[in-house]
Amino acid sequence: MITLTGLTKRYGRTLAVDRLDLTVRPGVVTGFLGPNGAGKSTTMRMVVGLDRPTAGSALVGGRPYAALRNPLREVGALLDVAVAHPGRTAAAHLQAVAASNRIPRRRVGEVLDTVGLTEVAGRRTRGFSLGMMQRLGIAAALLGDPPVLLLDEPVNGLDPDGVRWIRTLVRELAGEGRTVLISSHLMSEMQHTADHLVLLGRGRLVADAPLDDVISSASLSAVRVRTPDRDRFAPLLRAAGWTVQPGTPEEETDPDELLVTGTSPASIGELAFRHDIRLHELAHRSGSLEEAYLELTGAEVEYRAASDEPTTRRP
């Protein structure tokens, strides 16, 4: 469990993290989201004692990181790009990490196996691809078999196979009762991986809720109806008290398409049947995390291109 209480970090005049109060619980995958510069990396660094908080505290299992006897056996982390000296072999890198926290040497072979780097264990990391370096970093994070894991952009540099592997691994780790905090920009992946979401914006907590709650309350969740009898059907739907729109701006505007909110596909189907309306498509269109995220953080983006203006989503 990670507990942040009033956590604040100021760099000169910039307030990077602003009075963060947060509990990251074990047994679930907690997704850490936010625009660039929102304070996610700074927060993670303060949890592992790399930066000293200006105020407040970051505790792991109720204790500050520096008080942990063998910290890597309590907290495993992959922060920034995984770093290892290019002239050192993968095995030597992990052996040093293991020795520093009195982790048994056999763990080196075990984690190399878990991440799939056994064949290149004896190769100097100079020749490693970004994906291999990421996997080495994950291996180092897992070395101490820690109950808490902090992963900052772990899928960075991985191919789709690797991305799926991380998802499985992370869910497995959370299933074992560990505390998993994973930050990512890949919304689609986060939607499949995380159970709980923490959203940061300009150093402040914007959201702290289960994934489903965040998606359903913030984004456009509706039923997509395609019918050649659109002109007849739309008034009927409105008469039933439901909101009708002619499709969303981003999707290809189909002259036959309608988006209906406030009801279920079943009810729409029943209505169509009663009035002899032909239906070519009737499907529930669930909101996406990306939409929810953009909506929630629209005002909080620090670095925005001149051409991006926050668009209003709802009619």
Partner: protein, 276 residues
């Protein structure tokens, strides 16, 4: 879903203080960190090439000087020399690769940001610095012994009968050079912790160890000459050379120890003050 609600400003709570670890725990952590530092040191080819380079420099320097003495002797000049003394002299050059290794034990990790991993492994900065220093000093001593032997053997071979080294002198020189390199390694590591840059540390070390005594000699100011007595290089000569120096080995060790302490203190403060 929670939305941020306006809160009354809470008084900033100081971060919970870290309870002082017991001495036993501290020693255990430091030794674990030291074994990690050793693995890191020995696993780099740079370390071994540096050792080789140091040996080569020492041998070449010793041989060159010995050769000129030998030539003078051959020409009838009544000149003798001690292979041990020549080896000690040669180490002033041969020490450079060894010091580079010591510096990069710290500065190398700042260069590629692997210092963050080290700080996550060993969050107590004093323990991390101590672990690095112990390994660098031990490495310095272990490098000093073969350097001393190589220098002496090479010089002796060239000097032949002109060599006046006794076994006693030889042993003292080996230990003196080993001790000197151990202490100077610790010294430059402290400098590295303060500057965080390989290049700046190397420059400062060169200035301190090689340039300062030369400059002092050139200016001939009275107070400067007095000050040079306490430079690490002067102490080094006193420690390593069988011909002795301004003072005995004990005093030389003390002088070097003070330098080491100052550099280490600076390094500790630097590590403690700054974020990673």
């Amino acid at each position: 879903m929670t939305t941020p609600t306006p809160t009354t400003p809470t008084p900033t709570t100081p971060a919970p203080t870290t309870p002082a670890p017991s001495l036993r725990a501290a020693l255990a952590s430091t030794s674990a960190a030291a074994s990690a530092e050793w693995i890191k040191l020995r696993s780099l080819r740079f370390t071994w090439f540096a050792l080789l380079g140091a040996a080569a420099l020492t041998v070449v320097f010793a041989v060159v000087v010995a050769a000129s003495i030998s030539a003078s002797a051959a020409n009838g000049y009544d000149v003798t020399a001690s292979a041990a003394a020549l080896a000690a002299q040669a180490v002033t050059v041969g020490q450079l690769p060894v010091l580079m290794v010591a510096v990069t034990v710290v500065t190398g990790e700042y260069a590629d940001a692997s210092i963050r991993l080290s700080l996550r492994q060993t969050p107590l900065r004093g323990q991390l610095l101590l672990a690095k220093t112990l390994v660098a000093a031990a490495a310095g001593f272990c490098a000093g012994v073969p350097l001393a032997v190589a220098g002496m053997v090479a010089a002796r071979v060239v000097l032949g009968t002109a060599d006046t080294t006794s076994w006693d002198e030889a042993w003292r020189t080996v230990l003196g050079i080993g001790g000197y390199l151990a202490l100077v390694s610790a010294l430059v590591l402290g400098i590295g912790a303060i500057t965080r840059s390989t290049i700046v540390s190397v420059l400062v070390s060169l200035l301190l160890l090689l340039a300062a005594p030369l400059l002092a000699q050139m200016t001939r100011a009275g107070w400067l000459e007095a000050a040079t007595t306490y430079l690490p290089s002067t102490a080094g000569t006193a420690l390593t050379s069988p011909e002795g120096g301004a003072y005995g080995a004990g005093a030389a060790l003390a002088v070097l120890a003070v330098w080491v302490l100052l550099a280490q203190l600076g390094g500790y403060v630097a590590l403690w003050l700054r974020d990673a």
